[in-house]
């Protein structure tokens, strides 16, 4: 699990400037390993340290969101409040597997091939 320690940031006059004093120890090396594994990115010891340093700086910038009260605001998922449009239930795609399989690094018997999957829950 990720840990959240003290989050302290100061409000500087220029809100957006990166120089604002920001003392926070939010993201630990263990957190980085966890995130990297969720994102399927490799992280050796050196890169873990580097990620931690950079992400903490970026999160400092992001924490500035907290200066604005949003308690009565609806979240906005799309830039304009659109609604879903439907498609008719028609088959319009033809068999293109030759073209598609040709793009893949490894194929056989019409299948995309990957290192053996040990059956486990996804």
């Amino acid at each position: 699990m990720l840990s959240q320690k003290s989050v302290v940031f100061s409000v500087s006059q220029r809100q957006m400037m990166p120089d604002s004093v920001c003392i926070r120890m939010t993201i630990t090396v263990e957190d980085i390993r966890h995130i990297a594994s969720l994102a399927r990115l490799g992280a050796n010891d050196e890169s873990v340290e580097q990620y931690a340093e950079q992400l903490n700086r970026i999160m400092c910038l992001i924490e500035q969101m907290n200066q604005i009260d949003t308690s009565c605001v609806e979240p906005m998922a799309h830039p304009q409040d659109m609604t879903l449009r439907f498609r008719d239930d028609e088959v319009v795609e033809s068999d293109q597997r030759k073209v598609h399989l040709a793009l893949a690094p490894e194929t056989g018997s019409g299948l995309y091939l990957v290192p053996q999957v040990i059956e486990q829950d996804a």
């Binding site: 439907f86 498609r87 028609e90 068999d95």
Partner: protein, 477 residues
């Protein structure tokens, strides 16, 4: 000794029978060449986008109306993020916080009466592809034909208290989805898949025990066995001082046991968030109303009507109403014939069912349509033929397109209506059966059955057995 109460909830994935996939125009047919139905959206080429299939939404709403559930006017597609080779985008599009179908219920028959099982929700999502391991040395193969087929995931409340109840619920759900025509429900082909959440608690305890999830048990029989096995495993575990661990387990039908898969709760964090490629799904009243118009009469109501209007027994009514084609057939025959519904039901469950079974076809493609069967039953009713002859005629109907009347005419199967003809045969029979006459007169009245049989044999079944008995009695008494 503690008595334990099992608590079971089921999650059922139903493949909706649309022609094209939920977010693309690729075909959904089962059994085509690997990846032949894997369009650019199915293989998640860079740059492609999902566009929602109206039919998938319609079928989900139809299900919701069928279980009297709340239909949510606004629902949201989200992304469930995880990596797996059968999941081409690295996320599954599914509904999470705002499903299209809200609370509803299904009534089931238990050993001790009716019971309502709550439906928590039903939501739309896309199916994943398939992994193949056979004949591939140290490799797995990915077939994405199934990726993107629309699924309705139906989640029940933990309302079931035994494996039998769970199966009763599943069967009821299976009947319902086929009735509604939202899926073919083919379990072998994976159109109807079930995960079971099982826990146990001391009888009388309110608090739920720790549950395990049994994945992908794909026949009614195995569901029952898997759940029963899991219940006893959990009870044994607790009674010997152990603790049930929340995990996913796989049922092995060969060994009749469940075994642990990787414990997933720690490792996975699906990071759901609204899919920015798909705006909110808003269903207006007119859409929902138009779906409601197509809602057929459902099995429970239909069975009640059969019992009430047709005088069928509850068992017969339920059995016949459970399959939409059978119920339609029954009603069509009854409309055409003067025979009672009970007679029609007996024919459907007897001769017709046997014939269909032998040919391995459904009643929808029966070689004898309701009109021809009705005409046949009318001939029994008006005394033209006997029940026994009717079976012979029916066999002819199965083999040709002729009408019952044609068969009766050309084969000369009408009952003998001329009484003197029957009397002649009776006399002939009595002449050669002095022993039986003697027995009858000594009080063995049952022997008359043998004599009737002899007369029927001589007339090739065309005499009315009641008349024959009458004449025999007259002669003997």
């Amino acid at each position: 000794m503690t008595r334990w109460e099992p608590v079971i909830g089921l999650e059922v994935h139903v493949q909706l029978n649309s022609s094209s996939k939920i977010f693309s125009g690729a075909a959904t047919a089962y059994g085509s060449e690997p990846n032949a139905q894997a369009c650019p959206v199915s293989i998640a080429l860079p740059g492609v986008l999902p566009v929602m299939n109206r039919e998938a939404a319609r079928l989900a709403v139809l299900f919701g109306l069928g279980i009297n559930a709340q239909i949510n006017r606004r629902s949201v597609f989200e992304r469930k993020n995880y990596f797996y080779p059968d999941l081409p985008k690295g996320y599954q599009i599914s509904q999470y916080e705002h499903p299209v179908v809200g609370r509803g219920s299904i009534s089931i028959e238990t050993g001790t009466g009716r019971k309502l099982v709550g439906i928590t929700r039903a939501h739309l999502e896309e199916d994943a592809g398939k992994l193949l391991h056979e004949h591939l040395d140290s490799l797995s193969g990915v077939d994405l034909n199934r990726a993107g087929i629309p699924l309705l995931e139906i989640v029940s409340e933990p309302d079931m208290r035994s494996a039998r109840e769970a199966v009763a619920y599943l069967k009821k759900l299976h009947v319902l989805i086929r009735y509604l025509g939202i899926s073919d429900g083919n379990m072998q082909e994976g159109s109807f898949r079930c995960d079971a959440n099982v826990s146990v608690r001391p009888m009388g305890e309110y608090q739920l025990g720790t549950r395990t999830e049994i994945k992908n048990v794909n026949s009614f029989r195995f569901v029952e066995k898997a759940i029963n096995h899991e219940i006893s495993r959990q009870i044994d575990l607790i009674e010997y001082g152990g603790k049930v661990v929340q995990e996913t387990r796989l049922y092995d039908s060969d060994r009749d046991e469940t075994r642990s898969m990787r414990s997933k709760e720690e490792a996975n964090d699906y990071r759901y968030f609204p899919d920015p490629d798909l705006p909110e799904m808003v269903l207006d009243e007119s859409f929902i109303e138009s779906v409601r118009q197509t809602l057929p009469e459902l099995p429970d109501g239909r069975a009640r009507r059969f019992a009430r209007e047709m005088g069928l027994s509850e068992t017969d009514a339920e059995k016949l109403a459970a399959d939409r084609d059978t119920a339609d057939y029954l009603e069509a025959v009854c409309k055409q014939t003067r025979a009672t519904a009970k007679t029609v039901a007996n024919w459907i469950n007897g001769e017709l069912a046997a014939a269909l079974n032998e040919r391995n076809i459904g009643i929808g493609s029966s070689p004898v349509d309701p009109f021809r069967l009705a005409a046949l039953l009318d001939r029994i009713e008006d005394g033209t033929i006997t029940g026994k002859i009717a079976k012979e005629v029916f066999a002819c109907l199965l083999e040709s397109d002729a009408s019952a009347d044609d068969v009766i005419q050309t084969r000369g199967l009408q009952q003998i209506t001329d009484l003197s003809k029957i009397e002649q045969v009776v006399d002939d029979v009595l002449a050669v059966c002095p022993q039986q006459i003697e027995q009858y007169r000594q009080g063995n009245l049952k022997i008359i059955g043998f004599l009737v049989g002899q007369v029927m044999k001589q007339t090739n079944g065309k005499a009315n057995p009641r008349k024959v008995t009458e004449i025999l009695k007259n002669r003997l008494d």
